[in-house]
Amino acid sequence: MPVKRVEKTPMPERDAVLRSHDFEEVNEGYGIAHAKFEAERCLRCQDPICIDGCPVRVPIPDFVHKIAAGDMRGAAEVLRSSNPLPAVCGRVCPQEVQCEEQCSVGIRFKPVAIGYLERFVADWEMQQAPIEITNKLDRAEKVAIIGSGPAGLVCAGELARLGYPVTIFEALHAPGGVLRYGIPEFRLPKDVLDWEIDQLRKLGVEIRCNVIIGKTIAMDELMGEMGFSAVFIGTGAGLPTFMGIPGENLNGVYSANEFLTRVNLMHANDFPNSDTPVMVGKRVAVIGAGNTAMDTVRTALRVGAEQGLIVYRRSDKEMTARVEEHQHAIEEGVEFHWLTNPIEVLGDEDGWVTGLKCVRMQLGEPDASGRARPIPIQGSEFVMPVDNVVLSIGNKPNPLLLQTTKGLESNKWGCLVVRDQSSETSRDHVFAGGDAVTGAATVILAAGAGKDAAGEIHADLRG
């Protein structure tokens, strides 16, 4: 029987002072006792609407009940059959606005900690008993996947399970896309990512790094002489946006993409053992207040900044970062400057950043995004002394593939156009999903799009 408890079983976390100087994971994960204790809170609803909140439609109550019954292996089997990336999703999904927002327990109490439980099961499988994978790729039609981020990985996994030989083409030297270069180790350890990708390889998915479709191989070659019957484009939103304010090209100004890539992909935190450096002074200002901004400012602390600052033109209510990421940043001593808009990066005579000139803002009527519009307060300009500025104000889809591929329709933001709610692009047998279609969003929405596209590709190839 379900057990009534008001609060979620808390996630064990590492001490904020200790963890803010290293890259080990902040959340330590549930033990078996925590997991069973939490799983008992599930009401076993007749109509489990939590599933509706999940973009990949994990049969949540099934695996939660198995945890409560102590059948961890059974739970792992349920999870893995519905989500190719459970250890990733259990760590980085915004469950509070998805499955957990739907959870019936949440009507009166705190919802069941579905995300923590998902992570527990995935970690249990990884550490205790990986599920043996036997998969036959017995279909004739080959499918190409462009990009190895969450959309591409999930699409590949689903298609391989359906028996299609799948090849993922990745531009960088290591697979994972934003999971590799964007999300830091302290939130998603790279050995966890490697393990999940290995499970896909065991399904028969082939991953070819250092290949850029549209540059190394043209889309026409892919579908022509190379013999791929269908293509999924999951190239993400990897083109950083700059503000266009004076001083943005001074030495010491980074895009969040560059800053995080230097650390996550190139291991600048280990310089000079690794050859790529990152330039971090005493005070690092990060502009923006999304999850990437939180990742960036917390990474800055871990690579030697004495003070990390978030500078955001709206207030904390409009910030797009997850509550947990914001909370972790507060615990680690990040300074928040709300209603503050940068208008110029200042530098010394050698071209190095010395400060950020800002103007104070107040909130007005809601804008097109539905959030209160920030309005500058006349005469409120001031200078914030900083050594680095990192811009984390969003990304657009990368135009590289579009520039070199005929017949692919895109909109004015550079996003691929798909036919109403589907993954079909304007080119036959070419599908797309994730940030390349929606613009910058979340890992799990990309994963969901990858899963949906796999179904559509299957229908297309069988139809």
Binding site: A171, Y181, I212, K215, A218, T261, D270, P277
Partner: protein, 283 residues
């Protein structure tokens, strides 16, 4: 992984490599570049494609040993593999002007003129290459360059070979009408100060000029924005919008400054790899 098929020293610090890279060779066009990573933990650095052979499936690249990664590259031998090689990157060079095209190569920059000038000559342009270096022994690829252009002009700062003076001095003479004549278009590839001087030389004469910028890069696909340069007061990414830009519109001062961003760390890294070598007795 890309196997090294040939290695040839051009100067004490410059080596030419032919590598097995059929996909890139097939797709490459003049003016493009590749990004390489030599070892686990290594940097990603851009290198210009000097030449390609589609039939043989090979790329020719020339590496000047100036930092940690290029020095590690210099230690790779025939038969060994480059860990990561990706490309071709950047926009292929488009030359709208026809007529007398002058390619100016400074130091190892001359290598990048190989496939480029050959293509221009093949399409019917008159081609001149000014190959310049400090001294005779630092001039590279004279034989190969002779074969692919109409006129090869050598310049050395010390007068030990060819014209005694800077490439810009020789270029100025041509602009004034000296044989082989006034250029209709100039393409300069080499160290930043040289490209800047070429830009200044051709600006007054209003001769369209392109330079190949070589800023710091990580991914080379537009993802990091580290390679941003200001051209005509607009921010461009050299990796996807370049590497060639209108020389008269480039903010060279900013480009030079941004390239020096990690000078301190470069020294630290070089010292460290030197120490490591001493420790294992390689040096």
């Amino acid at each position: 992984m890309a196997k090294i098929l040939e290695k040839r020293p051009l100067t004490p610090v410059t080596k030419l490599y032919k590598v097995d890279a059929p996909l890139i060779a097939k797709a490459a066009k003049p003016g493009q570049f590749v990004i390489v990573r030599i070892r686990e933990g290594g940097e990603r650095i851009p290198l210009t494609i000097a030449d390609y052979d589609r039939d043989a499936g090979t790329l020719t690249i020339v590496v000047q040993e100036v930092g940690t990664t290029t020095m590690q590259f210099g230690e790779l031998e025939v038969g060994e593999e480059i860990l990561d090689l990706v490309g071709p990157l950047g926009m292929p060079l488009e030359i709208p002007v026809e007529g007398h095209i002058v390619g100016v190569g400074g130091g190892f920059g001359a290598a990048a003129l190989l496939c480029l000038m050959r293509e221009l000559r093949a399409r019917g342009d008159t081609t001149t290459i000014i190959n310049g270096a400090r001294e005779k022994d630092l001039l590279i690829l004279n034989e190969e360059l002779t074969d692919i252009c109409d006129n090869l002009e050598l310049c050395t700062d010390d007068g030990s070979a060819g014209f005694h003076g800077f490439v810009t001095d020789r270029l100025a003479q041509m602009i004034d009408g000296d044989a082989p004549g006034r250029p209709d278009m100039v393409i300069a590839i080499g160290p930043m100060p040289m490209m800047r001087a070429v830009a200044e030389t051709t600006a007054a004469a209003k001769i369209p000029t392109l330079v190949s910028l070589d800023p710091l890069m990580i991914d080379g696909t537009g993802m990091c924005g580290g390679c941003r340069v200001t051209v005509n007061n607009e921010v461009k990414f050299a990796c996807v919008d370049g590497p060639f830009f209108d020389a008269h519109l480039v903010d060279f001062e900013e480009a030079v400054r941004r390239n020096k961003m990690y000078v301190k760390q470069e020294h630290e890294a070089k010292d460290r790899s030197h120490c490591l070598k001493l420790a294992v007795g390689q040096d």
